[in-house]
């Protein structure tokens, strides 16, 4: 009874700031401007399926790169001295203390024509443009969301009982087998929450592509932002479709996670 009382503030919070807005988006998505039931919004939303697919693709690529970069880092961190671990965590966290937009602006300056990267490569005789394309958007997103991948994986891995690893070694496993049979399976919950925490915000992000991308790199978040100026109904419909997709993604992720954990 006591514990239930303690959750009341959160339940109120969730009701007011999560449930009610979602219901309102649902209602707006299924009505037209005068408030009558209508499916026309989804028809207009369908026009943006190209942007939609591209956004999901960009988010997937960014998530994959984050995972590839973050996993070895998190593994190595757990092998370090405790004090070194804290320093590394600090270094990962520090950029997050700065505003999101400022960090993206820093990337603009980094990648732009005659910026540091361009000047350095020009001296080596390599000329090119590094901003205004999809790769720049992905780079910005990986930079933006990498800490959200590293930290959950690190947290889960650092909780793995050293006794299990030693037991595996005693039973004759080499390093690769210890990793494959003990460390990796036990780290899967961390991977899953990492993927969730990177994929979900990056699929719906906006502004990153406006700053780092070119004319073809508009993402679904930007579309929703712009549509909402004059047409809340279609904007809500796109948001709703987006939510459904993300929900399906999460369900699949969780299924996958459970199976692996059992195996």
């Amino acid at each position: 009874m006591k514990t239930r009382k303690l959750t009341i503030p959160y339940i109120i919070w969730m009701l007011v700031f999560t449930m009610i807005p979602i219901v309102m988006i649902g209602i707006t998505a299924f009505t037209d401007k005068s408030g009558n039931f209508s499916l026309a919004n989804f028809q207009s939303a369908f026009h943006y399926s190209g942007v939609f697919t591209k956004s999901l693709l960009i988010a997937l690529i960014s998530t994959a790169i984050c995972l590839v970069v973050a996993y070895p880092l998190a593994y190595m961190m757990t092998r370090m001295k405790k004090s070194t671990q804290n320093t590394v965590i600090m270094l990962i966290m520090i950029p997050m203390w700065m505003n999101f937009l400022l960090r993206i602006y820093a990337w603009v300056i980094l990648l732009q024509k005659n910026g540091p990267i361009d000047s350095a490569l020009s001296m080596l005789g390599i000329h090119g443009t590094y901003i205004g394309n999809t790769a720049a958007v992905i780079a910005g997103m990986v930079y933006e969301y990498l800490p959200f991948m590293v930290l959950p994986i690190y947290t889960v891995m650092s909780k793995i009982d050293n006794g299990l690893i030693e037991a595996a070694q005693d039973l004759g496993s080499n390093n690769a087998a210890v990793f494959g049979k003990v460390v990796f399976p036990l780290s899967i919950p961390g991977i899953i929450s990492g993927i969730t925490m990177v994929f979900v915000p990056s699929a719906s992000t906006f502004l990153v592509s406006q700053y780092l991308g070119g004319t073809d790199d508009i993402m679904i978040g930007d579309v929703i932002d712009k549509i909402f100026w004059t047409d809340q109904n279609t904007g809500s419909a796109i948001s709703l479709v987006m939510m459904v997709f993300i929900f399906i993604f999460l369900v699949i992720m969780n299924l996958f996670g459970d199976e692996e954990a059992i195996a």
Partner: protein, 361 residues
């Protein structure tokens, strides 16, 4: 022990901070007598705030009148509209643009001003009284005006452009920036097609959309605020933007110059209005009046570089601003300009929709 110590230390720190805030609060309360407050809701960076050795006009107002200003900002007219329409917040002074003023008047969301409380209205130039969005001049006092112009990099564009067609120049492929705002982008496209944007129909929007689609492969990017970084940093050759902002970019990079399309451009203005949710109407009028004291209006103009409708204030400006064709185009030029005032809601929604589609396809 260490934990307890740090807990005590941090709580002392918090307490002292709180005490300071409380102290500061009561201090300012006693200094000026309490004349109430005024809630001002203005565009981002749209008032002289004490930077560049100019006056902080809000502080000046508070000192002179004893009225406390609660200052908040927005970045689009639509944001302002949604706030007024859908929130319970009360605002006393808002600064919508021409088309939004028409819409707010139409939807009966503005209060009539009492001009007895705004004696400085007499300084406003005739051209900026009784604006087309408020023909009887009952609801608005013009704050700033300006035209849309082009900013270009002299090292990349050799001859000064004379029309918007420069934004479709194939030789500048990949170096052109386009304004990321459906109204302005569509208006530019319509002008190149000889359509009067102030009377546009959906068919005209379709034509303009086609024109903008042709432009898309030539563009580097669609931009709003990023135009400053890109033009000042020499990242692009040419971009359309608002005259006052172009003047600022030119100060940062001497390679930049401006160009006005010879057949006229979009004349826009923002006006002070009092929305119906206002609770301090007299204070709002005092604020509007103060903003048009010639020396205050001149400070704002020096900071913003937009056109100032206040004749007395213009006299106080330094010659280089006063005589700039960019900030103060001649009357002859202004006569050629059009005001993109009110279009029907559904025409505007269509315009926005088409513009998003151009970018999404």
């Amino acid at each position: 022990m260490k934990k307890i110590l740090s807990l005590i230390l941090s709580s002392v720190l918090c307490a002292s901070c709180a005490a300071c805030f409380a102290g500061c609060g009561s201090d300012s309360g006693s200094k000026t007598e309490n004349k109430g407050e005024v809630n001002v809701y203005n565009w981002d960076e749209y008032i002289s705030d004490g930077e560049n050795d100019l006056k902080n006009v809000i502080e000046e107002f508070e000192e002179e009148t004893g009225i406390k200003v609660n200052y908040t900002t927005y970045s689009t007219n639509e944001e302002l509209y949604n706030k007024l329409k859908n929130s319970n917040d009360s605002y006393d002074v808002v600064v919508p643009s021409d088309y939004m003023i028409s819409k707010l008047i139409r939807e009966k969301m503005l209060l009539e001003l009492n001009f007895d409380n705004i004696p400085n209205y007499k300084y406003i130039n005739k051209r900026f009284k009784n604006l087309s969005c408020d023909p009887d001049g009952k609801y608005t006092v013009c704050y700033n005006w300006g035209v849309t112009a082009m900013v270009y990099d002299k090292t990349k564009v050799k001859t000064k452009p004379t029309s918007w067609d420069a934004l479709w120049d194939k030789n500048l492929k990949g170096d052109i920036l386009m304004i990321n705002n459906s109204r302005d982008a569509m208006a530019i496209a319509m002008q190149t097609l000889g359509i009067d944007p102030s009377k546009c129909t959906k068919a005209d929007i379709d034509k303009a959309s086609k024109k903008l689609k042709e432009q898309k492969p030539l563009l580097k990017k669609y931009v709003m605020d990023q135009v400053f970084n890109d033009m000042e940093g020499g990242q692009a050759a040419i971009a359309p933007y608002y005259a006052g902002d172009i003047a600022m970019m030119m100060e940062e990079n001497s390679n930049l110059d401006y160009a006005l399309p010879s057949d006229g451009s979009n004349l826009f203005y923002d006006g002070f209005c009092i929305p119906t949710c206002s609770k301090n109407k007299e204070n709002a009028e005092a604020f509007i009046n103060f903003m048009h004291k010639p020396e205050i209006a001149a400070e704002n103009c020096k900071y913003l570089r937009y056109g100032c409708p206040n004749d007395e204030a213009v006299k106080l400006l330094p010659d280089d601003i006063k005589n700039s064709e960019l900030s103060f185009p001649s009357d002859k030029y202004l006569d050629k300009c059009y005001v993109f005032s009110d279009v029907d809601d559904d025409v505007y929604a269509y315009m926005q929709d088409q513009f998003v589609k151009i970018q999404a396809d």
